[in-house]
């Protein structure tokens, strides 16, 4: 029978079956189907045949007929398995380079992961507030003779709520360090705590979790107080049923009872500002006798924050704000206001002449760069060892290519090898990170945890993938590029470009290492310089504490008795703190007009003997003295003040209505980044908040014990909470010291990883030149000759790196030092030392291999073949 088109079963069903059915079953199935169709066609007619054909075909649509034969289906996974197997075998065969790679890469990855954790923590500071993207601080640019000065504006935020419809909330807050620590007191407990006065909507603006109390009511009453949980625990040993209880706060000689209206969770570590309790701003206004009326005056010392409504056009808003200021306040013609996102303040807090410049973000960028470089150094080890060992795998590549492997497949193979390596290293790196995290937290002053959230896992995997990719890319392209015809003949292609690349990579590694070493030396020297620099006063044996209770009322009596304690050399008091306080770091600046120029200066109120207690040298004139009652109207100034005003023979001159009594040498109360400001001391004995005492060197412990007893008897109910000035001075350098310590570790790591790579290369070279060495020895070469031969090449490479690194590090170091007002000069020895360290470690590394190779017994290495 001939089958015409008419008798043919429907084509589309055939087509469907052909697609679906596994090829090895298809012929049989299709044949049977067609036979049945023809049978039905004869017996039952076309329609029935069609229908049955359809049901038959459908009956074949089941997995058993779909499943392809193994060989065609799993090709890709097979290849992958094969690649992994080959990688595993390579690792096993070259154990030395495997471990060098493993250690190098895992050190590099661990370091990068830690830096990643730190950076991601830094970037999230202050971003936890719910209205983060609408929460702004009011800032101002003030035009002065020395350029534009940028800072927090004192404009009361409440006025914006009143006058600008776009503003949802506005709060005025006392700045950090505005007050010394408060004392909070219950009937039987006294604790020291950090507090601030805040506007009534504070908790609507900032998202500090209120656990007890009503968010919009807790700060309404003037006698309210909101405690953090831990403060409540310290006071009452519980956080329950505290609402409505009365406690007393005291700062300096001010004290007031207040009622607990709310409890907040402790301020999270992700907040740049830390405090223990909040008081309503109204209470502060009442105490200070400030008028309740708010104006467009921008001169208050407070910080002001606003939340703008959703979809506010910020440019337009700032424009209106500035316009309003100019029309409502005629004295503000030199001031322009702008809003700054609160969460940006932490990283982008520094301004230069009105333009945002640097800030903490610089360290974030710096460390990202370091992480990248360390990864690169580790990746280069892998590259060099892989390409150096190419000759060992050349046959494998030749055969694969001859059989028909495409270049792409070979590239894939080498990349999977490097990726496997990277992920092995990740495991080791994770172990290191888990072990090192506590120390790292201590070092950086952070509380970083591993959360294992998706973002972190993805970033970790991404970092590792990136490492594997950069480490594997060059070998993959290099190795896969060989021509099978030449390499199967046994000719190892050693092109110049390859050797150059390898040398170049080692040079790159060592250049970076040398730069790191120079940086470590420079940072260390600079910090040593500022710490042992003559500050103009004695910081080592000075303690200070706040005046409280009875001391605040009878400070003169207290001081006299204090001075009588044996071991206390001198004692005095002042208003505010000495180092980095709100007063001494520019917060308390006052202006005077001198020869038509506005001059800002710091003004410190001090008691008799303060200059003597601190050991500040009087250069001209004399210090305040009890013997002359008229001294209270006179001032003592520092050298900078004299220079700034251009005074000749300053003693006795009248400045701003006050006679200059004496001139002191300059002294550093500020961070090392800032220049010494013009400063005056005035005699002020009434409102002094800090007692300062100079203690005899070597007897600190005994004297402090005595002081504690004396304090307890004299001032019962208060805590003797003293600090050494020295410690405060250290905190000025926290950022620098952290960078110093971290950079030391990073430099160490960089040089270790670089040397690992060098070690691998040296091992390899020594191995490859075994026969040459054997022959040389047979012909009479000395061991030293061979050591020289082997280390010559590497010495040259390292010397080249040093030459390259020195100018680079010079530029970087002098740029970093520019940030300090008082800095070291770059001594040539710093660079020479760095070079010698790099050269020395390289020599030791290569030398071990060279000596081993030189000790070879020629009869052993020449016997085979």
């Amino acid at each position: 029978m001939i089958i015409g088109k008419k008798n043919h079963p429907p084509y589309w069903l055939d087509w469907l079956l052909e697609r679906f059915c596994a090829p090895h079953l298809w012929e049989e199935v299709q044949g049977d189907l067609h036979e049945r169709y023809q049978l039905r066609l004869k017996q039952k007619g076309i329609n029935k045949a069609y229908w049955f054909y359809f049901t038959d075909v459908v009956s074949y649509l089941r997995p058993a007929f779909y499943k392809r034969k193994h060989a065609t289906q799993l090709l890709y996974t097979d290849m992958f398995q094969h690649n992994l197997l080959l990688a595993y075998r390579t690792f096993k065969r070259f154990k030395g380079s495997f471990f060098i790679n493993l250690i190098g890469l895992s050190l590099g990855i661990a370091c990068t992961l830690l830096i990643y954790l730190w950076i991601s923590n830094e970037l999230h500071i202050d971003t936890f507030h719910e209205k983060d993207h609408r929460l702004f601080q009011i800032m101002e640019n003030r035009k002065t003779a020395r350029g534009i000065e940028t800072g927090a504006s004192g404009l009361f935020a409440e006025i914006l709520v009143r006058d600008m419809p776009q503003v949802e909330y506005g709060v005025t807050v006392t700045p950090p360090n505005f007050f010394p620590k408060f004392t909070l007191r219950t009937e039987n407990q006294n604790v020291k705590a950090v507090g601030k006065y805040v506007g009534k909507d504070f908790l609507s603006v900032f998202s500090y979790d209120l656990v007890q109390g009503q968010q919009d009511k807790v700060l309404i009453q003037p006698d309210a107080i909101v405690l953090s949980e831990s403060t409540a625990l310290r006071l009452f040993n519980t956080t329950n049923n505290l609402i409505g209880k009365t406690i007393e706060w005291q700062v300096v000689n001010l004290k007031k009872p207040c009622v607990i209206t709310g409890i907040i969770k402790d301020v999270p570590s992700g907040s740049s500002e830390q405090f223990d309790f909040l008081l309503p701003f109204e209470a502060f206004q009442n105490i200070m006798g400030m008028g309740k009326e708010i104006t467009w005056n921008t001169n208050s010392p407070f910080h002001n924050y606003v939340v703008v409504k959703e979809n506010t056009n910020l440019d337009q808003f700032q424009h209106t704000l500035d316009h309003l200021l100019k029309t409502r306040n005629s004295t503000a013609k030199d001031i322009s206001l702008f809003l700054k996102l609160y969460s940006k303040n932490y990283l982008y807090g520094t301004y230069e002449n009105g333009v945002q410049a640097g800030g903490r973000i610089v360290y974030v960028q710096l460390f990202s760069l370091i992480a990248l470089f360390i990864l690169l150094i580790a990746g280069i080890n892998f590259m060099n060892l892989a390409t150096a060992r190419a000759s060992r795998r050349i046959k494998e590549i030749g055969i694969k290519k001859a059989i028909g492997a495409s270049r792409f497949i070979l590239i894939l193979q080498y990349l999977s090898e490097s990726l496997l390596m990277a992920f092995c290293s990740l495991l080791l790196a994770l172990l290191m990170v888990v072990l090192l995290l506590p120390q790292f937290n201590q070092l950086t002053g952070k509380q970083i945890h591993l959360d294992w959230d998706l973002q972190m896992i993805l970033s970790f995997a991404g970092i590792t993938f990136f490492t594997g990719l950069i480490a594997g890319s060059y070998p993959a392209f290099y190795l896969s590029g060989f021509k099978p015809t030449t390499i199967l003949k046994g000719i190892v292609p050693t092109s110049w470009s390859e050797i150059w690349t390898r040398t170049g990579l080692v040079v790159f590694q060592f250049t970076l290492s040398v730069v790191f070493i120079v940086s470590v030396i420079v940072i260390y020297k600079q910090i040593e310089f500022v710490q042992h620099n003559n500050l103009g006063y004695d910081k080592d044996h000075i303690i200070y504490f706040e005046t409280e209770g009875k001391i605040a009322n009878q400070s003169e009596v207290f001081l006299t008795r204090l001075k009588n304690i044996p071991g206390v050399l001198n004692a005095s008091s002042l208003s505010g703190y000495i180092i980095n306080s709100y007063q001494s770091s520019g917060g308390n600046t006052t202006e005077l007009v001198w020869n038509g120029e506005n001059i800002r200066y710091n003004s410190l109120g001090i008691n008799y003997d303060l200059i003597e207690t601190l050991g500040i040298t009087i250069k001209e004139g004399r210090s305040f003295s009890n013997a002359f009652p008229s001294d209270s109207a006179k001032i003592i100034v520092n050298e900078t003040f004299v220079k700034r005003l251009g005074l000749i023979n300053p003693v006795g001159q009248i400045v701003d209505g006050r006679e200059i009594l004496g001139v002191t040498k300059d002294f550093h109360f500020q961070s090392p980044h800032e220049k010494i400001p013009p400063t005056i001391f005035r005699l002020e004995r009434q409102y002094n908040s800090t007692i300062v005492a100079n203690i005899q060197a070597g007897k600190e412990k005994a004297v402090l014990e005595q002081l504690a007893i004396f304090y307890k008897n004299y001032n019962p109910g208060f805590v003797f909470d003293y600090r050494f000035l020295n410690q405060d001075y250290q905190t000025l350098y926290v950022a620098e010291q952290r960078v110093a310590i971290l950079s030391r570790y990073f430099a160490g790591l960089a040089i270790i990883i670089s040397c690992l790579g060098l070690f691998g290369l040296a091992t390899f070279t020594a191995e490859r030149r075994r026969k040459e060495i054997g022959i040389r020895k047979v012909l009479g070469s000395s061991e030293w000759g061979i050591i020289y031969l082997l280390s010559r090449e590497f010495t040259r490479i390292v010397l080249l790196s040093i030459t390259l690194a020195l100018p680079v590090s010079y530029v970087i170091a002098s740029d970093w030092l520019k940030g300090f007002a008082y800095r070291i000069s770059l001594h040539p020895w710093y660079f020479i030392t760095a070079g010698l360290v790099a050269l020395g470690t390289a020599w030791v590394t290569v030398g071990i291999q060279a000596v081993k190779a030189a000790h070879i017994n020629p009869s052993q290495c020449l016997k085979d073949e």
Binding site: M1, H8, E28, G31, L33, R36, V58, Y60, F65
Partner: protein, 108 residues
């Protein structure tokens, strides 16, 4: 090899292969079953039963001749193996044994 348990349909298919011995391919086996049982059977079901039987080692197969009705495609010819024969015998014996164990009173 998978377990040699024989399902009911598999048993029928195996019997049909035995009946058509020498010319037992998918379509023929299906027609045989349809004739014997008097109902229509899915080709796909028969085929997958044949494959299962082959996996269990109860039948084996080779490719046979092509015909015009098949569009020039070859058939796969199945034949019962010794194991298959034994399996059929066991079932047969089991059924007989059970038939004989039925007490006469059961039918009254």
């Amino acid at each position: 090899m998978k377990g040699t348990y024989l399902g009911e349909f598999e048993e029928v298919v195996l019997l049909a292969v035995a009946i058509r011995s020498g010319d037992a391919y998918g379509a023929a086996v299906t027609s045989e079953i349809e004739q014997q049982m008097g109902r229509s059977v899915n080709l796909g079901a028969v085929h997958s039963a044949l494959h299962r039987l082959e996996e269990k080692g109860l039948v084996n197969s080779q490719m046979g001749g092509a015909t015009a009705e098949r569009g020039g495609r070859r058939k796969r010819l199945y034949s019962v193996t010794i194991a298959g024969k034994r399996a059929l015998e066991e079932i047969h014996q089991l059924r007989n044994q059970m038939w004989e164990s039925i007490p006469k009173t059961a039918w009254s």
